[in-house]
Symmetry: C3
Subunit: 471 residues, 3 copies
């Protein structure tokens, strides 16, 4: 048996001086509450507060960060129990799946998923041996047993994790019933929705018309015109706000923004309703909706987020068999300077407006995003996203962004996860990387310790609360 | 009161071995004269040699590097005393402006502006406490008092800074009267102009025709044809040369180069004169002018510089109210391999030609620029520019460029500043980063100490003199 | 005289803890056999096993990595003895050429070429003084003398270098006579060809029709149709396989993949035969051939490699006078997410298919290539290529790729060289960089020592054997 434990200095530089400073900075923020302003935890989890079924169901099956790497090494998704769209049977022996996972756990060495899992195993579940083929079943049993106890119910974990606020991501037509259920239950956990209208914004998505109908139903109106459509979005934003929402989010292939005339917008919308919209129509529509969403944010104060640049469902065979979010979304080169020009020119100087932009294209950090955020008062930079939410990725972000935008035009950390028990691991890693980044500057006498203390707290807690208007 | 002083080892790695070598290398070059071959100091400053008015006028109001970050945090430019185009009143209490700046000085922690200001405060003005809201007025008074003394007159600082040569940047139609005035005064400071024809090259710039008239006046001819126009440029280059110029410079959106036929060039020029030029015309014109400027450099030996890839005045509202250079210029993705093909094919092998290229797109360092400079004898790489003139930015440049182009196809440092008293700070930072970069290679036994000594001197002094033909 | 020797810890971090771990990891792999699955050594060298003529002929004249940097500093290729296409005379005093090289050897300080040459001089030839103008002739004589001895014959070096397998790169119509000659000679060195059809794939290349004729001759058929052409490729692949080939390779300007209909492909091919093909035709043809080559790989099991994104022969004057491979190939921005979509959708999930992709655009490492390789089972990432095969370049590759793709979707090292005696230097440098990369993770407690040992062996030996089906 290979024992395993987390090292208290993990992720810090090895030279003694930097490590000492990094520890001091990290220690000053490690116990701050977690503010999670963007993520994908299912609100049903906390509404129903039912026990997690088993380790495989909890950790492997819902997490494409994990199974994409197994798939890349030739392991069929079926053998990992990933459900098919048509209900064709897949492996349902969860111990067998866990065994495969354990035998390939070496693949995650040096990856953020590996680091998060190590933290989750050690800190959340008290695992003390290294996961591999030999230890697989012992660890499965250990975690499985924990999951039966009341201390491992979702709300108990929420409290143990010291989560001050958790934001979910919800469709524009969503009833928010689970959010309502949480409120009604008298539970004091602070969980808020985020308004994400992707399904009603992409004219060419299969099922778009159906989504428009759902949106109309939710807004209690019939959507027959672009004007109606916009009104429905406004109504729904108001509802989300009443349920505690502080933000919106949009996933777009390109961050292109461009204002259409009323008649152009209407004409495209009608072509969409008649299933005659072209790709050009769809792109123009998205560019215009980004302008409309910004305008609404100026009006209602919801913080606007954009997550651009992902080629969704790149692997058609996997999408056809298993659906979306199966590890097949691949980043695209992205341009911001020209694409955000219309939006920033119209709204970028507005006091009441806040736009948080994310990217999957690290080449834009120092070239476009930091210079834009270092000028426009409305614009703030979201933390490293997805593939870049990693030790090296976070260092690159800080190194490329800070000198031009300063840390004060960034917004702290997002865990962005659907893997609820990995939340503390993700925030801990971010706090460690930030402490290490600042420690390097302290020992090189670029900043002093007083600045560093203020900065590490800003990055862990203050900036996220301010940026998302949670203060 | 928080005391403050510069640490002698600032910016060096913290491990003892690297720091020792970095110190040794830095010490060998720190007192070398400053050669500043490209920048934006107003020649009037040194021609008139009048006292600097006050700290706010000296440090904040003219420096968009500084006030863009304040603006990004919601501080109105009016409240910082930035003059409006229409003369609408702005804050004119310079102590009040300084107080705002001091209260937000924490924003610059970890930025190059913060590092330069720290050096300037400590080394130029002898400030010994940290700038913040509490110390603001004491420091203002301290600097203000210094500025009254003869030791702080521009020429006295020039000499104290040990500037061997300072290059200004001057329009093609500029009379160079202040350069003449300096010469006439008998002052021995070496200040030379640089020929920058941007205003007469961009057909679509407002006021272009007016600039053509000014150019014609300056060249003592009427410009009615493209041929005349080119002749006027030649005449003016000759005049700049006679006033000591060794270089030209062009800021272009794209570095696209392409030779037009004589009749095409003439037709576009005529459309420009008749205000009928299209965007395509303007782009083709710039591409052709780059070819013409290269040809002229082959003829007259002036070193050619290109600064491409900035989307100027991105924030229309700020431009309309305050004009250019207000922190709203944002980099664009830039391509060099195809774009410079025509120019390098025609002139890149010429012994007498030297082209120094800059970039705001760091992705091009290792992909395009280092391979090009590692082959074409005429091409040299300018130092990290603007947002990338920073601790991390300079390290990235050296790490991405050196292995392919060697340091010997780079040209040392440019301070590129209009902030005269920050010049020593900028050169000091560059020398420290280069010493640190080379020290890392020494302790890893990639280069030996003899090589490192030669290289650190080349980077601080020899290369710039050779590249700009100042030796 | 400046003595010179390789430091045993070269390229490792200077902090004692990291260096110790790096040494331990490096020591565990430094003596593993060299597996060289892609390169440009001339098979004639090992077939004939004749002595290398002299140091200049061996080291300088054939190696554009070396002479491009001399050319960039204004040294004429003629004076370096680079042969002209038309046979116009060039310098033929090899001592004189070596003297120029030695006097400019300082240019290579901090470059991979400098590091490889240092290793080659010390380890292969036992040189003990530093190369410069003063030592030039002594070192020339020293190496020259060695080259006369049987220990320095190509096959003796092959064995001394501990090369387990060496792959050459060979045209589709190549007779592989030298490979046959090696086999017939009874020599046991394992040297295999790689099928590279570039010359028959690019419709617009001068001499394409001639190459098609050669291909037909080699395949013993007349190529009059696209169908015939594809058949000829299949026949030749079969022949290469019979001669030990395990892989194919293609150099393409863009990695665009797109399947044409049979009639479209035929029409374009016929336009090519009639010298009427357009640039668009040529691009479409290449995109289709990549699909065909993938299909054939699924059928015959040859590993497919793509080397995209080089603008070949950028300097027309040099190309016209000296031909290809003269240091004038410059990288281009490259896109993979959209361009590989067709190929990966059709073949990326195939068990029997393996595609190894290279890039000259480092911006694609974390943005496109690592996410693609972290999902598609058929796709693996080739090591840093050409300009990026360097100390910093390899570190960047590992830092940007590992967290998303894991090391297990990469394929170890390629030396990719035509400079036979530099092969051990290149593998040694790669092993050192990988050991150092992993040591940094160990001392920061990101991975443990057991993982690191397995990973360093995988990177040095296991992955390349598996990826290229050499196990």
């Amino acid at each position: 048996m290979q024992t395993f434990q987390l090292h208290p200095s993990r992720f810090f530089e090895s030279d003694a001086q930097t490590r000492k400073v990094a520890h001091e900075l990290y220690d000053s923020v490690k116990d701050l509450p977690i503010v999670s302003p963007h993520g994908h935890v299912d609100p049903k989890l906390l509404a129903e507060n039912a026990p997690f079924p088993d380790p495989t169901e909890l950790i492997i099956i819902p997490d494409h960060y994990i199974f994409r790497l197994l798939y890349s090494q030739g392991i069929a998704l079926e053998s990992l129990g990933i459900p098919t769209k048509d209900g064709a049977p897949v492996e349902n022996d969860h111990r067998k799946i866990w065994q495969i996972f354990a035998e390939h756990f070496y693949l995650y060495a040096g990856t953020p998923t590996g680091a998060w899992l190590a933290h989750e195993f050690a800190e959340v579940f008290g695992v003390t041996e290294k996961l591999n083929g030999e230890s697989a079943m012992r660890i499965y049993d250990h975690i499985h047993q924990k999951l039966q106890s009341p201390e491992f119910l979702p709300r108990a974990l929420f409290e143990r994790f010291n989560i001050e606020v958790l934001t979910t991501t919800d469709g524009a037509a969503d009833s928010l019933e689970y959010h309502q259920q949480m409120r009604n239950s008298g539970w004091l956990g602070h969980v808020v929705p985020c308004f994400r209208p992707d399904a009603v914004v992409n004219l060419l998505a299969p099922g778009w018309k159906n989504e428009i109908t759902r949106l109309g139903d939710a807004a209690d109106m019939e959507i027959t015109s672009f004007k109606n459509f916009i009104r429905a979005l406004e109504v729904r934003r108001e509802f989300f706000k009443s349920m505690g929402a502080v933000s919106t989010d949009q996933g777009v292939a390109s961050p292109h923004t461009h204002e259409l005339s009323e008649s152009e917008a209407e004409a495209i919308f009608q072509r969409g309703l008649h299933e005659q919209a072209s790709e050009k129509d769809a792109a123009a529509f998205t560019a215009h909706i980004l302008m409309e969403m910004a305008r609404m944010s100026v009006d209602d104060g919801l913080v606007m987020q954009i997550h651009p640049g992902s080629f969704r469902n790149h692997n058609q065979r996997i999408f056809d068999r298993f659906g979306p979010d199966k590890g097949c979304d691949i980043p695209l080169q992205t341009e911001y300077t020209k694409n955000l020009h219309a939006l920033l020119n119209k709204f970028g100087n507005e006091k009441n407006f806040r736009l948080i932009v994310f990217t999957l294209d690290e080449a834009t950090y120092s070239r476009e995003l930091a210079p834009l955020a270092g000028h426009y008062p409305a614009l703030k930079l979201g933390p490293p996203w997805w593939f870049h939410d990693s030790f090296e990725g976070m260092m690159r972000f800080r190194e490329r962004v800070t000198e031009t935008a300063s840390i004060y035009n960034t917004v702290g950390f997002n865990d962005d996860t659907r893997a609820f028990p990995s939340i503390p691991a993700r925030h801990d890693l971010a706090r460690r990387v930030d402490a290490n980044f600042l420690a390097r500057q302290v020992v090189r006498h670029i900043i002093d310790m007083a600045d560093a203390r203020q900065m590490v707290k800003a990055l862990a807690y203050d900036l996220v609360k301010k940026a998302y208007k949670l203060d």
